[in-house]
């Protein structure tokens, strides 16, 4: 192995990195011996560089050898020898490259450091009880959060790099004695086929992992909480951590997962079951309430109780819109307000919500443009939507579909729509797992943590739907 001309090598790397503003190098000379350090100062820890690398070398005596540097002088944990062709890649990964004129070996020292935020409670899944830590953008922190909870040699973390420009690290992590090997293979295969220039967030790879990327329905689980990821891995699922993203993906995903909440596992199981039933009811109300109301009002008014019918007739008399257009109008109004309040700064968003809900709604009714039952039904369905916020995007689209079905075909339309959707969902098995399990098909064992939840001590077996290698939780 030839020795290096240190200065030439530094210049060569500098040119390769386009003389980047954060490109840095240092030389250390002792008699005829020259050591060069190459790094990107924006992503390394300069203090550690001084104290753990430069100062120990400076304060040493005698002739330097590469083994001496590697084993004694440099006080860093992660030092490795790398090949010349990997030099630039290592620098870009936040490592300091050490080259000498007395050895052909190149050392790569991990000094990666960039601004990160501390793990805090994620805004998307707050808990009343239970751990409050959430994932952050830094992959190393995320890996630490998982490792802290899974002290087992069976924890596997395979790294792949995706994105020709971003070279984003993607970690496929699972428990090798529990996760189904076929699922692990399928995930890895799908990741290896991704050919893009950049991956900025886990959502960028999400669509590549889905069985039907064009489908409306969510097919991959996502969470910001390490305790949830660990519990899913213990069920036999595979987690995918993407560098620079606080969202960790999990596969396989089944619909019932969105009905579950981390709070459920830290409170009494009777209460948790009750809350899950409420969530399911909320989902049903959100999905079909406006369509059902329209169907009753337009086609099946004879099955409404008389008093209720009179109330509706009184309030809808003289409206300029047909019932169908009225519900559609209120629905769109709510959606516009929602979008506005979401994008405006919080102080303005609140004001817009007040103006929208109170002024527009109230004046709309008083002006005789919309009816109070219509407003109540749509508002109810919109509120109920957020009993399962994870499903909100798809349910919003389906609300519109059911409004059209209920308004044009009546109750038959609503029922047909429901059966059609369930039929459709029953057809896709994501990662060898039925989407609507454990209810369709019925997996009796898995019903212990479905809509009703059994106490933790009776959940002795892992969910069969995910075909884990080890069935029993021991």
């Amino acid at each position: 192995m030839g020795k290096f001309n240190v200065k030439n090598k530094v210049e060569e790397v500098k040119k390769t990195l386009n003389e980047s503003v954060d490109f840095s190098y240092r030389y250390f000379k002792r008699e005829s011996q020259v050591i060069g350090f190459i790094f990107l100062k924006s992503i390394i820890d300069p203090q550690l560089f001084s104290s753990a690398i430069y100062f120990p070398i400076q304060s040493s005596d005698g002739e330097l050898t590469i083994d001496l540097l590697k084993n004694d002088l440099i006080k860093c944990v992660d030092i490795k020898e790398v090949k010349e062709k990997d030099l630039v890649k290592e620098i870009l990964d936040g490592r300091v490259i050490l080259i000498t004129n007395f050895s052909g070996k190149i050392l790569s020292i991990d000094l990666l450091k960039f601004p990160t935020r501390a793990p805090t409670e994620p805004p998307t899944s707050p808990v009343i009880q239970g751990p409050r830590e959430g994932f952050v953008e830094d992959m190393q922190t995320n890996v630490t959060l998982l490792r802290r909870r899974l002290k087992t040699p069976n924890l596997v973390m395979d790294v792949v790099r995706i994105g020709s420009q971003t070279q984003t690290k993607v970690v496929v992590t699972y428990l090798k004695d529990i996760a189904n090997k076929k699922i692990v293979k399928e995930v890895k295969d799908k990741l290896s086929k991704i050919k893009v220039d950049g991956v900025l967030d886990s959502y960028n790879i999400l669509f590549y992992l889905e069985k039907r990327p064009s489908s409306l329905f969510k097919q991959i689980g996502n969470t910001e909480k390490p305790d949830i990821v660990v519990s899913k891995m213990l069920e036999g699922k595979v987690a995918i951590i993407v560098d620079n993203s606080p969202i960790v993906l999990t596969v396989p995903f089944i619909f019932i997962e969105d009905l579950q909440n981390s709070n459920d596992y830290y409170t009494n199981h009777h209460y948790s079951s009750f809350v899950r039933v409420i969530r399911l009811l909320g989902l049903l109300i959100a999905l079909i309430a406006p369509g059902f109301y329209l169907a009753l009002q337009l086609f099946h008014y004879n099955i409404l109780p008389l008093n209720f019918l009179i109330t509706i007739a009184d309030t809808t008399q003289g409206l300029p819109f047909t019932p169908f257009l009225e519900i559609l109008f209120i629905f769109l109004l709510f959606q516009v307000l929602y979008e506005v309040s979401l994008r405006l700064p919080s102080y303005l968003g609140l004001a817009t919500s007040v103006v929208g809900a109170l002024i527009l709604g109230d004046t709309g009714v008083k002006a005789g443009l919309i009816s109070p039952p219509g407003v109540i039904i749509v508002a109810l369905s919109k509120i109920a939507l957020y009993t399962i916020p994870e499903e909100a995007p798809q349910i919003t689209v389906l609300q519109l579909v059911f409004i059209v079905l209920g308004g044009s075909l009546g109750l038959i339309g609503v029922v047909s729509g429901l059966v059609y959707i369930i039929n459709y969902l029953n057809d896709f098995d994501s990662y060898q797992t039925p989407y609507l399990a454990p209810y369709s098909p019925r997996v009796t064992q898995d019903l212990k943590d479905a809509i009703f939840i059994d106490p933790i001590y009776s959940q002795r077996y892992r969910p069969q739907s995910f075909s884990p290698q080890k069935k029993e939780r021991v």
Partner: protein, 361 residues
């Protein structure tokens, strides 16, 4: 191979048992055999029930073989195709009849104006989707809604108990009427024949046979209970009430005080009709694909065209359609319900005998 579980198989059987029996049939039967219709129905069920052990035996002999291939191996391609053509017609007319009866019910109850196109728009995409998604997907759907449907059904039966009912008068009809009624309504039966078509896609496990019998018996029990309560409630006027399950809820004073409960029957009937049509249209397409070397899309298109055309012919001639089911469709049903199972029995006998002889040699 995407297989279905024995539970899914059971719920399909229950839906088939409900087909064409829960709305119009009780009143139609009453015209000829009054309350003895229950016995007519039970006898027809008993004859149907014979098919189940034959199916189970056939499945145990040929666990992974398609019904079509078994027939082809034993009877040749031509005869098999003829049998499948008859099966195709059988399922098609069953589907058409289910739709017609439900259509009339909804037209009377809800949609007073022209409803045919609305009904077709609502139903056809769903059943087409079910055919495309396959047996496993729609059997899972039926499995998911099964308890909702059964609860709706049982609630309808239970509410009928809140009106004055008395034991119907039995043994009023002659043997001739009895046999005549049996012959006329035979087409509504033959509920287990669907199992033969999908026998290679059923995942049979140890002890699952008992469960299959349980589902079948539960379905028969519910239909019998419906007949009994319907006749007990309406007695001599039963022939005037064409929608048995829905009519059970009428005049229930205690419950009507809190609003109309017809919606329970309506929703139950909607779900049952959709599921039955999914099963029959799937069976049609399966037969079609076996007869003609064409794909599923073609089969679905043919089904839709035939369905719309025939339904168009029968618009406003509902009685003609029902009468057809009473007079000429029974001959088709006799072949499907009885001759085909006997044929299967003979094939099983020959196969078993041959195997025994081979073992001896």
């Amino acid at each position: 191979m995407k297989q279905i579980s024995i539970r899914q198989c059971g719920v399909i059987i229950v839906m088939c048992i409900f087909a064409n029996k829960i709305l119009l049939m009780p009143s139609l039967m009453y015209e000829r055999t009054s309350a003895d219709s229950i016995f007519v129905m039970l006898l027809l069920f008993l004859l149907d029930f014979v098919m189940l052990p034959i199916f189970i035996k056939l499945k145990s002999i040929y666990p992974d073989k398609k019904f079509y291939d078994i027939l082809k191996e034993r009877l040749g391609t031509f005869v098999t195709k003829v049998i499948y053509l008859l099966l195709l017609a059988f399922f098609f007319f069953k589907c058409l009849l289910v739709f017609s009866i439900t259509y009339v019910y909804f037209k009377q109850q809800i949609y007073q104006d022209e409803f045919i196109f609305l009904a077709l728009i609502a139903f056809l995409p769903v059943i087409n989707c079910a055919v495309f998604n396959g047996l496993r997907a729609f059997s899972r759907t039926i499995e998911m809604f099964f308890w909702i449907v059964i609860t709706g059904f049982v609630v309808c039966l239970a509410i009928s108990l809140f009106t004055p009912i008395s034991v119907p008068l039995f043994f009023m009809s002659s043997a001739k009427d009895f046999l005549y009624s049996m012959h006329n309504h035979i087409f509504a039966f033959g509920d287990f024949i669907f199992l033969f078509l999908v026998m290679d896609r059923i995942d049979f496990k140890k002890g699952s046979i008992k469960r299959l019998y349980c589902y079948a018996l539960s379905g028969i029990f519910l239909v019998t209970l419906l007949f009994y309560l319907f006749y007990a409630k309406y007695q001599m006027t039963a022939f005037m009430h064409n929608n048995a399950l829905a009519d059970l809820l009428v005049f229930s004073v205690q419950f009507n005080a809190i609003g109309r409960l017809d919606i329970i029957a309506m929703l139950t009937i909607m779900f049952i009709t959709l599921f039955q049509m999914e099963i029959f249209s799937f069976a049609f397409c399966d037969c079609f694909i076996n007869i003609f070397p064409l794909n599923k899309t073609f089969a679905v298109v043919v089904f839709d065209i035939l369905f719309c055309l025939l339904y168009y012919v029968f618009i406003g001639r509902y009685e003609t359609m029902v009468m057809s089911s009473l007079f000429w469709l029974p001959y088709l049903a006799i072949f499907i319900n009885y001759i085909l199972p006997i044929l299967m029995l003979v094939l099983i006998f020959i196969k078993t005998r041959r195997d025994k002889l081979e073992k001896k040699d």
